[in-house]
C-alpha cells in the first residue's frame, strides 16, 4: 500500500477531517453553542419584558440582543443544526461513501464557523449590531449604526459563503452519488427536502450576498445605493433582503419537514402516506416560497395591486403545506405508534406547525396586515413556525439519529420530561404573544407602560421562557448522563427503521458501506426485512476503498477569510491598532495562497485495504 492512513492525534484529526460524519458532529456542536448563546439572549430579553418599565437591560443592549438573537438563531443555529443532520445522514441514506466533495464540505463548515466568530466578535468592539436581524436601511446606514453593523455585514457574508458551498455540495452529492437502484423517486423524504432546500440556498443566498455587498459598499466605501438623499433607494434593501429572507424560512423548514417525514413513518410502523404527493408538495412550496417576498412589505406602500398579488400568492402556499400535514396524519392513522421522545416531538410538531401556518394565512391578508404589522402577533406567528416547527423537528431528529451518531441512546425518561417542559413552556411563551399583538403591543420595544392590559400576558410569556430554558438544561443533563450511563447501541438498527442509514453498523466505519448496497425499493431496508433476509444486497464485490486524505487547508482558508472580513470592518473603526488594509489583504493572501497550494499539491487520498474491510465486517457482524 503506497498510501496508508497515518495515526494522528485526536485534535489534529478533528481539525483536518473531511469525513462527513465528523463534520456533521462538528456542525451539531457549533450549532448548539450558538443556539444556547442566542437562547440566553432571548431569556434576558424576556426578563426585561417581565414587568412594565423594568431596568434589567438598557434599551441599547436590548436592541443588540434582539438583533443578535434573530441573526444567530437563523444563520448560526438553525442552519448548521440542520446541516449537521444533512451532513451525517444524506450520504448514508443514499448509499454513498461520502459527499461529492469532502474537502469542500470541510471548507463549508470552517467558513461558516469563521463567519460566526466574526459576528460574535462585535461584543468586544463597542457592542453588537442593533438594527434588527433585517438590518433595514437607513437604520443600518453609516449615519445611524455603529461598527457593530459592519460585523453583521461581513460576518454574514463570510458565513454565507460557507452555507452556499455546502449547499452546492449537497446538490452534487444527491445527484451523482446515489447507490445503484436509488432513483430520485426512491430518495428518502429527508434527502428530497434537503435537496430542494439546497436549491433554495443556491438561488436565495446569492441575492443576500449581493445585498450585503451593496450595504458594505455603502457603509465602508461611501457608496449610496440605499441613501435617498444621494439618489439611492431605501426600499430596495427591503426587497433584496426579503427576496433572500422569505426563501430562508423554507430553507429551514423544508429539511425540518424531512425529519418529520422520517420519524413519523419509523414510529408508526407504516410507510409514508402519499410519497409522490409529498415530493411535489415540497417542490411547489419551494417555488411559491420564492415569489411571495413582498408580503413582508405590505405596509411599505406598494399599492393595492401589488399587495393583492402577493397576498394571494402567499395564501397559495397553504395548499401544498396542507397536503403535507394531511399526509403525516394519514401516515399515523391506523399505524402502530410508539410514543418515544422522538415521536413525541414529531407528532407534536404537526399541530404546532398548523397553528403557525394559520396565523401565517391571517398575516397574508394585506388589509388586516396593516393591523398586525410590527406587533407581537407577528413575533408569535414566526416563533410558532421556527420553534414549533424547526426546533421541534431538530429535537425529534436528535433523539432519532443520536444512537447512530454517538453509539448510545439518550435517556427516554429525561427525554420525555424535557419534551413536556419544553412544549408547555413554548406554548406559554408564544401563545399569549398572539393576544399581546392583538392588544397592540409593538415588537422590538424594550419596555412598556403598566396598567395597559399588557402586564399579565408579558409575565406569563416570560414564565414560559423559564420553562423552555429548564427544558434545554434538562437536554444537556440528558446528553451528559447518557454519555456515561446511557444504553450502548451496537446493533445497526435500534429502532427497526426503514431507511439505509440503519443498514450500516454502529459505530459507522469511515467508509460507511463496505459494499455499495443494491436498492430495490422505497424504504430499502424495510423492503429487505419483508422480502429479503433483512440485510442489504451488495452491488459490488469487496474491493479496496478509495478515501480522501484529511487536510488542514479548509481551516487555514477560513482563517484567511476571517481576517479579510475583520480588515474591512476595521476600516470603520475609530482607531484600529494596525492598518486595516494590511489585515484585509493579509487575510486574502492567506486564503488565496492556501487555495493555490490546494490546486498545485497533488493528493490522491489513500486506500482502505480489503483485509481491513473484511475485518471490520466481521467485527460489525453485518
Amino acid at each position: 500500500m503506497a498510501a496508508q492512513k497515518q495515526e494522528k492525534s485526536v485534535i489534529w484529526d478533528w481539525l483536518t477531517t473531511v469525513d462527513h460524519k465528523k463534520l456533521g458532529i462538528m456542525y451539531l456542536i457549533a450549532g448548539t453553542l450558538f443556539f444556547v448563546k442566542a437562547g440566553v439572549m432571548a431569556l434576558f430579553m424576556r426578563i426585561q419584558l417581565m414587568y412594565p418599565e423594568m431596568n434589567f437591560l438598557s434599551g441599547q443592549t436590548f436592541n443588540e440582543f434582539i438583533t443578535m438573537h434573530g441573526t444567530i438563531m437563523l444563520f448560526l443555529a438553525a442552519t448548521p443544526l440542520l446541516f449537521a443532520f444533512m451532513n451525517y445522514v444524506i450520504p448514508l441514506q443514499i448509499g454513498a461513501r461520502d459527499v461529492a466533495f469532502p474537502f469542500v464540505n470541510a471548507l463549508g463548515f470552517w467558513i461558516f464557523f469563521a463567519g460566526g466568530l466574526l459576528l460574535s466578535l462585535s461584543w468586544f468592539f463597542g457592542g453588537g449590531p442593533d438594527a434588527g436581524w433585517t438590518a433595514y436601511v437607513p437604520l443600518s446606514s453609516r449615519d445611524y449604526a455603529g461598527v457593530g453593523l459592519d460585523f453583521y455585514v461581513l460576518g454574514l457574508q463570510v458565513s454565507g459563503i460557507g452555507t452556499l458551498i455546502s449547499a452546492i455540495n449537497f446538490l452534487v452529492t444527491i445527484i451523482n452519488m446515489r447507490a445503484p437502484g436509488m432513483t430520485m423517486m426512491r430518495l428518502p423524504l429527508f434527502v428530497w427536502t434537503s435537496f430542494i432546500s439546497s436549491t433554495l440556498i443556491l438561488f436565495a443566498f446569492t441575492p443576500l450576498a449581493a445585498g450585503l455587498a451593496l450595504l458594505m459598499l455603502d457603509r465602508i466605501f461611501g457608496a449610496q445605493f440605499f441613501i435617498p438623499s444621494m439618489g439611492g433607494n431605501t426600499v430596495l434593501w427591503q426587497h433584496i433582503f426579503w427576496i433572500f429572507g422569505h426563501p430562508e424560512v423554507y430553507i429551514l423548514v423544508l429539511p425540518a419537514f424531512g425529519i418529520i417525514s422520517e420519524v413519523i413513518p419509523a414510529f408508526s410502523r407504516k410507510r409514508l402516506f402519499g410519497y409522490t404527493a409529498m415530493v411535489f408538495a415540497t417542490m411547489i412550496i419551494a417555488f411559491l416560497g420564492f415569489m411571495v417576498w413582498a408580503h413582508h412589505m405590505f405596509t411599505v406602500g406598494m399599492g393595492p395591486v401589488a399587495n393583492s398579488i402577493f397576498a394571494i400568492a402567499t395564501m397559495t402556499i397553504a395548499v401544498p403545506t396542507g397536503i403535507k400535514i394531511f399526509n403525516w396524519l394519514f401516515t399515523m392513522w391506523g399505524g402502530k405508534i410508539t410514543f418515544n421522545t422522538a415521536m413525541l416531538f414529531a407528532s407534536s410538531f404537526v399541530p404546532t406547525f398548523v397553528l403557525g401556518g394559520v396565523t401565517g394565512v391571517m398575516l397574508a391578508m394585506a388589509p388586516v396586515d396593516y393591523l398586525y404589522h410590527d406587533t407581537y402577533f407577528v413575533v408569535a406567528h414566526f416563533h410558532y413556525i421556527i420553534v414549533g416547527g424547526i426546533v421541534l423537528a431538530l429535537f425529534a431528529g436528535l433523539f432519532y439519529w443520536y444512537p447512530k451518531m454517538f453509539g448510545h441512546m439518550l435517556n427516554e425518561t429525561l427525554g420525555k420530561l424535557f419534551f413536556w417542559i419544553f412544549y408547555i413552556g413554548f406554548h406559554l411563551t408564544f401563545f399569549v404573544q398572539h393576544l399581546l399583538g392583538l392588544m397592540g403591543m409593538p415588537r422590538r420595544v424594550y419596555t412598556y407602560l403598566g396598567d395597559q392590559g399588557l402586564d399579565t400576558f408579558n409575565f406569563i410569556s416570560t414564565i414560559g421562557t423559564f420553562f423552555m430554558s429548564a427544558g434545554v438544561i434538562l437536554l444537556v443533563i440528558n446528553v451528559i448522563y447518557s454519555a456515561f450511563k446511557g444504553e450502548r447501541v451496537t446493533v445497526a438498527d435500534p429502532w427497526d427503521a426503514r431507511t439505509l442509514e440503519w443498514a450500516v453498523p454502529t459505530p459507522v466505519p469511515e467508509y460507511n458501506f463496505a459494499q455499495t448496497p443494491q436498492v430495490r425499493s422505497l424504504d430499502p431496508l424495510f423492503y429487505e426485512k419483508i422480502h429479503g433476509d433483512g440485510t442489504m444486497k451488495p452491488a459490488e464485490p469487496i474491493q479496496p476503498i478509495h478515501m480522501p486524505n484529511g487536510s488542514i487547508l479548509p481551516l487555514i482558508i477560513s482563517i484567511g477569510l476571517f481576517f479579510a472580513g475583520l480588515g474591512f470592518i476595521m476600516m470603520n473603526m475609530d482607531n484600529p491598532i494596525i492598518n486595516p488594509w494590511i489585515v484585509a489583504i493579509g487575510g486574502l493572501v492567506i486564503t488565496f495562497g492556501s487555495m493555490f497550494v490546494r490546486s498545485v499539491k497533488e493528493d490522491h487520498g489513500y486506500y482502505v485495504p480489503v483485509e481491513q474491510v473484511k475485518a471490520d465486517l466481521k467485527k460489525g457482524g453485518n
Binding site: M291, P544, P609
Partner: protein, 114 residues
C-alpha cells in the same frame, strides 16, 4: 494492487478520437469567445461613436445583449451538450425564478423606464 492509481499517469488516458473532440471543442469556444468580444466592441462603438441613431441605440444594444447571453448559455454554460440534464434543469429553474423576480422587483420599485 491499486498503488499505481495514486501516481500521476505518464501519458494521457484519452483516445485519439476523444482528443480530436476536445480540440474541436476548444476551437469552437475560442471562435465564440472572439465573436462575443466583437459583439461587445460593436455595442460600445454604437453608443460611443454615435454610429447607430440615438433612438435605436438602446433596443440595438439590448438585442446584442440577448445574442451574447444566448451564446454564453449555449457554449460556455454547456446548454448544447448531451448528458447535461441536471445542470440544464437547474439553469432553467434558475431563469424561471429570477426573471419574474427581477421583473416584479423593477415594477415594484418603479424602474419602468428602460
Amino acid at each position: 494492487m491499486a498503488d499505481n492509481l495514486s501516481q500521476p499517469f505518464d501519458k494521457s488516458a484519452m483516445t485519439e478520437e476523444e482528443k480530436r473532440q476536445v480540440n474541436k471543442e476548444i476551437r469552437k469556444q475560442i471562435v465564440v469567445f472572439a465573436l462575443m468580444i466583437f459583439l461587445t466592441i460593436i455595442s460600445f462603438l454604437a453608443v460611443g461613436a454615435d454610429i447607430v441613431p440615438r433612438s435605436f441605440a438602446i433596443p440595438f444594444i439590448l438585442l446584442l445583449a440577448v445574442v451574447q447571453f444566448a451564446l454564453q448559455l449555449i457554449f460556455f454554460m454547456h446548454l448544447k451538450d448531451k448528458d447535461h440534464g441536471w445542470a440544464t434543469a437547474f439553469m432553467i429553474s434558475g431563469i424561471f425564478i429570477t426573471v419574474p423576480t427581477i421583473a416584479a422587483l423593477m415594477l415594484l420599485i418603479g424602474v419602468v423606464k428602460y
